[in-house]
């Protein structure tokens, strides 16, 4: 850390700072919350110190020459142009320095890739533009939810007062116990995303059709925030990752809570919904899932994101409309939502779309959605 401070001074930029917000000036890795992040921090400082020493050495020579060997000071140009000994030395010494760097780094790489015997295995699925989490193995097995940006659009688009965790807050946080080895399997449903929590020192691309894995062991309680790190389309900057690290007891309580809630919500697929209730529920789902592309007024941003107002699909037969929401449309950003939303939610949002913005195509019940599953 001191190394980078020196670099900062070298840049001489502190003076150029305009007075802006009261936010603390962030210019180094966030405080580590895992042994791995701490290790990375140490490696970085180690390498930075070596670099600074070499840098000062080499450019010491250059600046001395710039000062002392100037024509205007009457320095005569010597005509030497090779020196085999020196040339061999400055090939071999850097190579040796590289070995000195590579040794500790190699040990860390091997440790980073060791995802064996985890206490808890969680799958993180990247969607445009949110994260799906499935607790696959260990305490909490079976818990499954989608986590998406909770920052209101007014703060993003309309200049409303931004809160502290602007763009780094989600509706449902990933919860893990402290001190346990958590293995994260990453994959994606559409394009490549990357799951990244700087405080844990983990970043892993989430690749559609493939499973990759990483691990972390949090050693601090608290909430840790990261963002998607691989360009994944227009809302790439708006799909944060938030992890809450809790004590083992609190974790057990959280797991029990989640399981109860899941049971309570177990939906009755054959329930006939009241149209008004269904549309009201659909508006919520639309606001959370569809609005970034198709917009609140249903007009979309054509041609990439088509309008739903007067749309042939929305005003056409129910089956076509349900199918496109369930299965998505290949070659576009329209994702298959069958994997992310319950049948009730899909029925609700389809009903909302079919009866809003002047569309009058009637509502759809959950059972009709279930019937369209392949």
């Amino acid at each position: 850390m001191k190394g980078s401070k020196l670099l900062c001074a070298l840049g001489g930029l502190a003076a150029a700072l305009p007075a802006t917000s009261a936010q603390a000036l962030e210019w180094y890795f966030p405080a580590p919350a895992s042994a791995m992040a701490l290790e990375i921090d140490h490696l970085h400082q180690y390498v930075m110190w070596l670099i600074i020493v070499i840098f000062v050495g080499v450019f010491g020579f250059m600046f001395y020459a710039c000062f002392a060997h100037r024509k205007s000071r009457g320095h005569p140009a010597e005509q030497f142009h090779e020196n085999t000994t020196v040339e061999i030395l400055w090939t071999i010494i850097p190579a040796l320095i590289l070995v000195v760097i590579a040794w500790p780094v190699t040990k860390t790489v091997i440790a980073q890739k060791d995802t064996s015997s985890p206490d808890l295995t969680i799958k993180a699925t990247g969607y445009q533009w949110k994260w799906g989490y499935d607790y696959l193995k260990g305490e909490g097995e079976g818990i499954s939810f989608v986590s998406m940006l909770a920052t209101p659009r007014e703060q993003i688009d309309a200049g409303a007062q931004k809160d502290e965790h602007y763009l780094l807050e989600v509706d449902r946080e990933l919860v893990v116990p402290i001190g346990k080895k958590v293995r994260v399997l990453t994959t994606a449903a559409d394009v490549i995303h990357a799951w990244w929590v700087p405080a844990f020192g983990v970043k892993q691309d989430a690749i559609p059709g493939f499973i990759r894995d990483i691990w972390f062991r949090a050693d601090k309680l608290g909430t840790f925030r990261g963002q998607c790190a691989e360009l994944c389309g227009k809302e790439h900057g708006f799909m944060p990752i938030v992890v809450r690290v809790v004590s083992p007891d609190d974790y057990s309580k959280w797991v029990a809570q989640q399981q109860q809630a899941a049971q309570a919500q177990a939906e009755d697929i054959n329930k006939k919904w009241d149209p008004k209730e269904l549309v009201a529920q659909g508006e919520k789902v639309y606001g959370a899932t569809c609005v970034v592309c198709h917009q609140a007024n249903g007009r979309g941003t054509p041609p990439a994101f088509p309008p739903l107002v007067g749309s042939k699909v929305v005003n056409g037969p129910k089956e076509g409309h349900i199918d496109i929401v369930l299965n998505g449309k290949a070659g576009t950003a329209m994702a298959p939502f069958g994997k992310q939303l319950s049948d009730t939610d899909i029925a609700a949002v389809v009903s909302y779309e079919r009866s809003s913005w002047g569309n009058k195509a009637g509502i759809v019940q959950p059972a009709e959605v279930r019937a369209r599953h392949k």
Partner: protein, 533 residues
């Protein structure tokens, strides 16, 4: 070496040297086969693209001035980052150095022109069409691709028809590069003056010879990658789609097999220019000429086995990560040799600091910083934290802007008097350098902090804790842009009414073009080849 070749079709003894192949006006430039004309065309083209790409960078920096979305929507923002990258790399930097190659290589090796004069004309004239195609993608439904210049699958499959325009533009740009490279290789290997052995060539010719081989090797690979993208989009193939047995990561392997050598395609000619400028203003021969040649070749060869260091977070096996890490760190050795050689060239010289030398020293200092951050990024565990953050953005702009662009400015100020016979305004040149240097660091030095603190790249909006450095960076960007207007003004006034340049304005310059050709150089040179003893 064959006899002197008369390449320009003189038919009448009474024609003087300034004729331009019988055409005048625009047709002179369309039909020209003269290496100097074509070099000029390349440089103007690169200049125009530099300002076009720069405008896009300003859109990006303006949007990032403060948190929230103010000026553009995220879709257009992504189009800006994509096109800024493609235009700067393929439209500005590469053509600029091909322009230098066209002007300088024949004059430096004592050849009357390039080996394939008509091919040379075509290599250039492909470029405006490619650039037009690229720009047209903005006006297609869905706009230009919003994928980043790396065009990663499968995001490319979601793009509109602008993506196809970009793919064809990349094809044409690649063709132009390959043809130009074949020409450079043939010229250097076959048309050197008697006595000009390879190991007597100016370093600029050596770096271009090696660069040209790199280009011939990797441009077809890029063409392959984008063609596979095209067929995945339209013809039902699934090269990059797991559902059909493909793999999105395959695209990245192919792309970076092109992409890493491409970094040296940009850097090596820049090294070449610097290797001409530093000895000239040190009034001392280049230190370690032979080791410079070997180091250049070593960098080029190593550049083929390090591509996956751009992909440490895709989830490679540990052996893969270690191999690519070791191979990448090895590049520091020959690169270090080059830096040491340049410093040793300056050591105990008789230095003077006219504008070309200032840009060369700026290059040396800042490019080395870019090299050091490259070393930091080459180490897998640290890269895991920094991959796809602003640290990477800062790193490659130190290499591309402080490296390639500073070197290009050094080259222009250095050779402009030779080419035009006019002397640029030294005071304005120095202002241009110092402002460029200060604002460059204001933009990019602080981006190291942003990256370490966790700001991802290619985002149109960011959390509040990144606000201060983004403001600094954006203000720097506008200062940088304004500083380039000084260059434009200096350039135009020099061309229009610059003072007459002395025969040899740089007393330490020692290549054939400076020692044996008049200033300004006539339209045709070396119709009778020199003989070196």
């Amino acid at each position: 070496m064959s006899a002197v070749i008369d390449t320009h079709g003189h038919e009448h003894g009474d024609e003087h040297h300034d004729h331009h192949g019988g055409y005048s006006g625009i047709m002179r430039w369309v039909t020209t086969t003269n290496h100097k004309d074509i070099g000029t065309l390349y440089l103007w083209f690169a200049g125009i693209m530099f300002f076009a790409g720069g405008m896009m960078a300003l859109v990006i920096r303006a949007e990032l001035y403060e948190p929230g979305l103010q000026l553009v929507n995220p879709d257009f923002f992504n189009q800006m980052t994509t096109m800024h990258g493609l235009i700067m790399i393929f439209g500005a930097i590469m053509p600029a150095f091909v322009g230098f190659a066209n002007w300088q290589i024949p004059m430096m090796i004592g050849a009357p022109d390039m080996a394939f004069a008509r091919l040379n004309n075509w290599s250039f004239w492909l470029l405006p069409f490619a650039a037009t195609l690229l720009m047209l993608s903005f006006f297609m439904p869905g706009g230009a691709p919003g994928t980043g210049w790396t065009l990663y699958a499968p995001l490319t499959v979601q793009q509109g028809i602008g993506m196809d325009f970009t793919i064809f533009a990349v094809h044409i740009l690649g063709m132009s590069s390959i043809l130009g490279s074949i020409n450079i290789i043939t010229t250097i290997l076959n048309m050197r003056a008697p006595g000009m052995t390879l190991m007597k060539m100016p370093m600029f010719c050596w770096t271009w010879l090696i660069t040209a081989y790199l280009l011939v090797a990797v441009m077809p690979v890029l063409a392959g990658a984008v063609t596979m993208t095209l067929t995945d989009r339209h013809f039902g193939t699934t090269f990059f789609n797991a559902a059909g047995g493909g793999d999105p990561v395959l695209y990245q392997h192919i792309f970076w097999f092109f992409g890493h050598p491409e970094v040296y395609v940009i850097a090596l000619p820049a090294f070449g220019v610097i290797s001409q400028v530093i000895p000239a203003f040190s009034r001392k021969p280049l230190f370690g000429y032979a080791s410079m040649v070997y180091a250049t070749a070593a960098i080029a060869i190593l550049s083929f086995i390090v591509w996956a260091h751009h992909m440490y977070t895709v989830g490679m096996p540990v052996t893969g990560q270690l191999f690519f890490m070791y191979a990448t760190t090895l590049i520091a050795v020959p690169t270090g040799v080059k830096v040491f050689n340049w410093v040793a060239t300056m050591w105990k010289g008789a230095l003077s600091f006219e504008t070309p030398m200032l840009f060369a020293c700026g290059f040396l200092f800042l490019f080395t910083m870019g090299g050091f951050t490259g070393l930091v990024l080459s180490l897998v565990p640290i890269d895991i934290q920094l991959q796809d953050t602003y640290y990477v953005v800062a790193h490659f702009h130190y290499v591309m802007v402080a490296g390639a662009m500073f070197s290009a400015f050094a080259g222009i100020y250095f050779w402009l008097p030779k080419w035009t016979g006019k002397m640029y305004n030294e005071t304005l040149g120095q202002w241009h350098f110092w402002l460029t240097l200060i604002f460059f660091n204001m933009i990019f030095f602080v981006q190291h902090f942003l990256g370490m603190a966790g700001m991802p790249r290619r985002v149109p909006d960011y959390p509040l804790m990144f606000e201060t450095w983004n403001k600094v960076s954006s203000i720097g960007a506008f200062g940088f842009a304004l500083s380039q207007l000084i260059f434009l003004y200096n350039l135009f006034t020099t061309l229009k009414s610059g003072a007459t340049a002395p025969q040899k304005p740089w007393e330490g310059a020692d290549s054939l073009d400076w020692t044996d050709l008049p200033t300004p150089v006539p339209y045709h040179t070396w119709e009778k080849q020199p003989v070196l003893k």
